[in-house]
């Protein structure tokens, strides 16, 4: 813990954070606090997204997309990672499409990149799935 404290202090100094900053942003790390502030997130908003399972950097993306925590709940209810909701929103992938790709063995971020690159699910399965 002493070593962690030393490094946290180094990070905090590097990002211009005071002990008060660290207290008011607890439990976020200096890098997370820096990133949240840089993108205009308040501690309350960052905590709200953290409760929904999103790291600060994903919360920043979610806010930029005008998402709500309820949007992520639809995805987590379908057993996707909370960050998948953000990824899907950014890449314009619907929940139904994501489920279909997942059933074929593609995790959401991989499927989203393939879809963006113009692949259909059947093409991707034909090329990339040995166990089909």
């Amino acid at each position: 813990m002493a070593e962690f404290a030393a490094e946290a202090d180094t990070d905090a100094d590097a990002y211009g954070l005071t002990p008060d900053d660290l207290r008011s942003w607890a439990p976020f790390t200096p890098v997370e606090i820096y990133w949240a502030r840089k993108h205009g997130l308040t501690p309350a908003v960052a905590r709200q997204w953290a409760l929904a399972g999103l790291h600060v950097c994903d919360a920043v993306r979610a806010v930029a997309l005008s998402m709500t925590t309820e949007d992520t709940r639809r995805w987590t209810a379908a057993h996707f990672a909370p960050s998948d909701a953000v990824e899907a929103a950014e890449m314009d992938v619907s929940l139904d499409v994501a489920i279909a790709w997942r059933e074929a063995g593609f995790i959401l971020p991989d499927a989203a990149l393939l879809i963006q690159d113009g692949w259909t699910l059947s093409e991707a399965v034909a090329v990339a799935r040995v166990a089909r």
Binding site: D11, W35, C57, I107, P109, D110, L113
Partner: protein, 397 residues
């Protein structure tokens, strides 16, 4: 090749390599070049072939200013300007033919014992001044040529689970150990920051209070791993990568320590006795995995899983940044403000790999096979000198 990567400075050699030579051949981004230092101390990186009759400039010779082709004596400075054409100027002293000829040239800077080249359009961004470059410790540079594409090397920089298997468990097997497996990964996290991505992990033997989660490791954009030391993956061409490692060993005590020259050595990757890849050291093990993926890994044949979320993240970023550059924007981690480029901080776990020096003596070099004996001896001497000073200070205090 590489419109995106050309927006960054890349390490291409060690400055120490120019203690015994003035010119060396370099291949980077598919271009064959000659790297030289003239007698005024200017570094230049120019086309390997003379624009006159295409002779090999790496057999040229340096002068007070520039590099002279050994074929007909044309002289070029580090900016590519032709300074002298001996016979042309004898026959036409009034002529200005030399002003009509240039050799393609790229800027070179020296920092932290490395020579850095910028092969992109003007204006060049700042050459990052990472805070770690200024840390106290014994520094060394090791360079290897890896026969595969750079990006599969970089994907390794954001792949936490590989460490458990490729390094921890495989090393046990290689040592003939039959004991329990290394602590398994339980949770991963990936975050973006100004200079790349941070990956975090929780293993069976750690919690979210551990630095492995709270601080994490840095996938430094676009082609480096930072874990207290740096590992750059610089494209030689599509199917070969220059692995440039910059290492620092912390030294006992706080006696001032200045290193006049940062040694640079070439690390072998193949075992000459067996013809197989060397497997004994951490980075050599990485090389085995990367080269094993093929000269250019065929991503259509992969089956990506939960452990690959970081890999997918940087693939997406790579594609986004290619688009950004095509649209005329700066890609991620480009530093333009000189004022912001002072000892730029990178998160670093201080309590693990870079643990304070132990009392038992200088640690062995774990990263690459082939460390020269003179480099090892120099480090040991520095370590012992600092340890002795620390002992004296403690005794007098």
């Amino acid at each position: 090749m590489g419109e995106l990567l050309r927006r960054y400075w890349h390490p291409i050699a060690g400055a120490a390599e120019f203690s015994e030579q003035d010119v060396k051949p370099v291949r980077i981004f598919g271009e064959d070049l000659a790297l030289f230092r003239d007698r005024s101390g200017n570094y230049g990186l120019v086309d390997r072939h003379c624009p006159h009759r295409r002779a090999d400039m790496t057999y040229g010779f340096v002068e007070d200013r520039g590099l002279r082709c050994n074929y007909h004596g044309w002289l070029f400075d580090h900016s590519g300007r032709c300074l002298h054409q001996p016979f042309e100027e004898t026959r036409h002293p009034e002529g200005n033919f030399r002003d009509k000829v240039r050799i393609n040239a790229y800027p070179v800077k020296e920092k932290a014992g490395l020579l850095w080249a910028y092969l992109g359009p003007d204006p060049a961004p700042e050459l990052p001044d990472w805070d770690r470059f200024h840390a106290r410790g014994y520094k060394q540079i090791a360079i290897s040529e890896i026969p595969c594409n750079w990006f599969q090397c970089q994907e390794n920089s954001i792949d936490p689970v590989h460490f458990e298997w490729l390094h921890d468990n495989w090393s046990k097997v290689l040592r003939g150990e039959d004991g329990p497996r290394a602590p398994a990964h339980r949770r991963l996290g990936f975050d973006e920051f100004d200079y790349g991505f941070i990956y975090r992990r929780v293993r069976e033997d750690t919690t979210e209070q551990d630095e492995l989660w709270t601080t994490g490791r840095v996938c430094l954009w676009p082609n480096c791993l930072y874990v207290g030391h740096f590992e750059w993956r610089v494209p030689i061409d599509d199917e070969n990568t220059l692995s440039v490692g910059w290492f620092i060993d912390e030294l006992p005590g706080d006696m001032p320590f200045e290193q006049e020259v940062i040694p640079c050595w070439r690390a072998p990757i193949r075992d000459e006795r067996t013809g197989r890849w060397i497997t004994s050291h951490v980075m050599n093990q990485d090389f085995v995995a990367w080269v094993g993926q093929g000269a250019i890994a065929d991503r259509t044949q992969e089956h990506l899983g939960e452990s690959d979320r970081g890999v997918i993240m940087i693939r997406k970023r790579l594609l986004d940044d290619i688009e950004a550059v095509a649209a005329g924007r700066d890609p991620m981690a480009t530093i333009r403000d000189p004022g912001a480029n002072q000892r730029v901080h990178l998160p670093n776990i201080v309590g693990r790999v870079n643990r304070p020096p132990a009392a038992g003596g200088p640690p062995r070099f774990p990263f690459l096979a082939g460390q020269p004996a003179d480099v090892r001896a120099e480090f040991e001497k520095a370590w012992q000198d600092c340890a002795a000073a620390q002992t004296r200070t403690a005794a007098s205090g």
